[in-house]
Symmetry: D5
Subunit: 125 residues, 10 copies
Amino acid sequence: MKYGEESIAKAELELWPNLFIDKNYEIKIDFPEFTCLCPRSGYPDFATIKITYIPDEKIVELKSFKLFLNSFRQRYISHEESTNIIYNELYEKLTPRYLEVIGDFNPRGNVKTVIRISSEDNPKK
Amino acid sequence: MKYGEESIAKAELELWPNLFIDKNYEIKIDFPEFTCLCPRSGYPDFATIKITYIPDEKIVELKSFKLFLNSFRQRYISHEESTNIIYNELYEKLTPRYLEVIGDFNPRGNVKTVIRISSEDNPKK
Amino acid sequence: MKYGEESIAKAELELWPNLFIDKNYEIKIDFPEFTCLCPRSGYPDFATIKITYIPDEKIVELKSFKLFLNSFRQRYISHEESTNIIYNELYEKLTPRYLEVIGDFNPRGNVKTVIRISSEDNPKK
Amino acid sequence: MKYGEESIAKAELELWPNLFIDKNYEIKIDFPEFTCLCPRSGYPDFATIKITYIPDEKIVELKSFKLFLNSFRQRYISHEESTNIIYNELYEKLTPRYLEVIGDFNPRGNVKTVIRISSEDNPKK
Amino acid sequence: MKYGEESIAKAELELWPNLFIDKNYEIKIDFPEFTCLCPRSGYPDFATIKITYIPDEKIVELKSFKLFLNSFRQRYISHEESTNIIYNELYEKLTPRYLEVIGDFNPRGNVKTVIRISSEDNPKK
Amino acid sequence: MKYGEESIAKAELELWPNLFIDKNYEIKIDFPEFTCLCPRSGYPDFATIKITYIPDEKIVELKSFKLFLNSFRQRYISHEESTNIIYNELYEKLTPRYLEVIGDFNPRGNVKTVIRISSEDNPKK
Amino acid sequence: MKYGEESIAKAELELWPNLFIDKNYEIKIDFPEFTCLCPRSGYPDFATIKITYIPDEKIVELKSFKLFLNSFRQRYISHEESTNIIYNELYEKLTPRYLEVIGDFNPRGNVKTVIRISSEDNPKK
Amino acid sequence: MKYGEESIAKAELELWPNLFIDKNYEIKIDFPEFTCLCPRSGYPDFATIKITYIPDEKIVELKSFKLFLNSFRQRYISHEESTNIIYNELYEKLTPRYLEVIGDFNPRGNVKTVIRISSEDNPKK
Amino acid sequence: MKYGEESIAKAELELWPNLFIDKNYEIKIDFPEFTCLCPRSGYPDFATIKITYIPDEKIVELKSFKLFLNSFRQRYISHEESTNIIYNELYEKLTPRYLEVIGDFNPRGNVKTVIRISSEDNPKK
Amino acid sequence: MKYGEESIAKAELELWPNLFIDKNYEIKIDFPEFTCLCPRSGYPDFATIKITYIPDEKIVELKSFKLFLNSFRQRYISHEESTNIIYNELYEKLTPRYLEVIGDFNPRGNVKTVIRISSEDNPKK
């Protein structure tokens, strides 16, 4: 196992204090290299994951976030599940003032799917 | 009759339970290969069908949805009718929290037509 | 006079019953081949005409709409007038729940003009 | 059977005399609405067919060419075959000074295929 | 008849002496507002006309060229004919060192056509 | 002084009666060839001027508007000033129901500037 | 040290009186050549900085603003910090009626980040 | 192991007879979902693989080609190696009249790499 | 007269020695802000000037080249003349190994013109 | 000094053996984050550096190439010089079968410059 794979195997979201906590500001992150495996067939799936959040006390460190997304590479997981899991993980760890997660998947069977979850539509969550 | 044609002939929307029912999230599906026949002339028509919905208890399985759209290939049907039929079928089967269906048709006679139906404009439906 | 010219000469908007009258849905029509003559100089003008409406009891048949737009070819008429006439004709014939007409004209004298009329800005009309 | 379907069923390339036979000039034709059926599965395939030719004594009438391409709708035929058949049909009927046929197919299984045949690469035909 | 129409009715290519006759240089002209009438149906056709030439002793004055192209508005003429006529007219009047004329027509019946004539393919003219 | 320069020297906005005064409709005008001189250095500046208005009793004649914008060619004037002057001139002459003026300037010193004034943000004018 | 570097070393935002203080109007400024150094590794980072503000009594002189942004070239500073510092500096100096600052950074580790701060989300600031 | 993974594990290029062997024609195939692992770090790499060939006696079956490319997912392999291996495999199995393979890789460390191998540059191969 | 105008009034191409005279290399320069006056009407014309050259003993200093192009602002000159004058000036001053000058002018009367002069087409010059 | 800066300070092109020396294949590398300082003013310059080469016995390791390009950040150097130095360095170290280097610089004073050096134009080099 190479060092990059070890980093991915141990991947966990690293949190940093938000140095500008008195301000509402938006952080957008795009990761165009998400891949996982279809839970039925085992064939690979590909997506761009797009995050927008307004941090409260914590922000997520970028490299640990990338490793976390890399860790889905050999997981069997549907489009809806992976997008929801990323949302939940970020929401619980960051308790942000606002969070949106979009999973923009490559076409399968000539059909393109995009999943979008926003804290605005889930006020009580 | 080949196996693909048989699948299309028997096409019916397959429903799956929504595993994230406590959350409002959006699913967008684009299908750029819709084709049917003009009810007057019998000439082929072509469209991209675009769906956006917020699921309630059920989500639609993608392959069954594609086969359902494939099944219009030899039907005589107008732009307005096909878009409305797709909307109604999805609305009745899914009873989603939100639904929008767009039929974005190729130009005919140098005129381009787009039909759009949204549950937001039809609150009682 | 050829048969196409005769069709254009007799052009009148043909109305069809709206088969989905219990629903609010949007119909968008783009016609990129509108041409008429400048009322001052007689030089040709060119535009794309874009219509969006929510039908009430009637929808407009597409071919008759194209012929109606073709019938402006040799008329002397300004940008504002042609867009208003198309709006008025559609509004009176269709009494739609919503109507927008856009006349997107090619530049003249290096100046590009777009005229837009919407029933939302004209509530009493 | 509607009149359009009858026209398609009887489709045959109609040839017109080339009125400018003393000149070499190029005619390019794009048809973005080609569809046929996969010979293995029966699932629909979609393509844009692109023709370029330098006519000799004959040119092909456009509407008859469109009907000819429409006639593939329910045929079981591979990408390579359909492109070669269109090339052969045009080559034999037109005996043009130059001919290129491109079949630019929609992705299948996330793989996009383009077939291209040119008389330049086939000097003896 | 307005003054613009009169100018178009009398349109004739105006020639100017080439002030840089000792040099080979290229002049490209694009006119996106060409329109004429289909010789069969009388329905309007639309095209962008693109000219490239290397002048010899004469260049064509731009406004007279535009009026010449405007003069096709009510003529019954096919795609091939109009492109060849424009080519011949320019070739005879200008006897240029090089000439290419492209007629890039709007789709008709979902089929797009482009006609291209070049003096390079017609060495003897 | 040539006739075009004389027209520009005498440029004044020409007003026409709004023939559709009972209706609210939008007129958008884009002029991509605005140029003036920097008040500090005298170097040329370039911009696209974009106007949107809802006319009340008057509309602005297009050619006079172009000449008015042409008349800035040799004026020393900043980005903010030219945009405000155009806004004020149009507002006073037209007393429109709505007016927006955008000055979209070419980069200077690798910095791009866009000035935007809207009557919506200036309710009392 | 060259004269440009000296100008950058002494860079300070220069303020000018707003000559149109009675009006609300928007100034947008884009600077695509922002660069600084990563506080952890010292590797260079790159961004486009986008500013939108509605001035109150003062506007910022463009060249001094560019020099101010140039002065980050050799600073060790994170994405969040640089965007917040630019926002704070502009907010304090200009006390504008509205201010938005966007730091649109080049991807690092295949992840793209955009930071956005708006006075609309920070009413008390 | 799911059925899709089994298909990939057993992936081997399947060859079909070229039914149009008397003709030179080009087949282009694009596969935008190639992924493998960096031989040094183990981190994932991503590419679009583009193939163009003129078949001789055999053509490659599309699905088997996709599975072959899928089989690189967990291999440690450099950009140059993977592109060369794909080229060699296709060249040996197909002995085509012409072959080009392009590996168009996503940026790594802000540097984008494209590898291109063509039989035209390797005449003796 | 401001200092920028004085610089433009005195504009002359400044030449620098080519430090890499033993090598053939290409320099491309694009200037999108060329403007002059129509010799007939006096109305302004606009163009992008594009230069490509392979230097011999001298290269042209960029700022002096910009000032030279700025100096056409109030000159009465046709499209063909300005492009030829720029070509001649550069050719005589630089005696380059290769030179191409393109004048890509904004449409006038809905007609777009591009003038192109290359030393390749003028071997003896 | 941070570790990244140290890596850049010591940057030297690292060479690897070409594992496919019996084949001619092309490697293209794009680096959009090149920056240096103007030798006259000290102001920063920005460019995308594009390399294409056909390796002989050696290929250049990507990270060492990036660090080499990073090392120009605080150097005073003109567009022509930096492009020539990169070309020379690569040519001497790699002695490739083919080499092209393009320096595509951001506009300065509204003028865009691109420098291109190819071994094809320098056969003896």
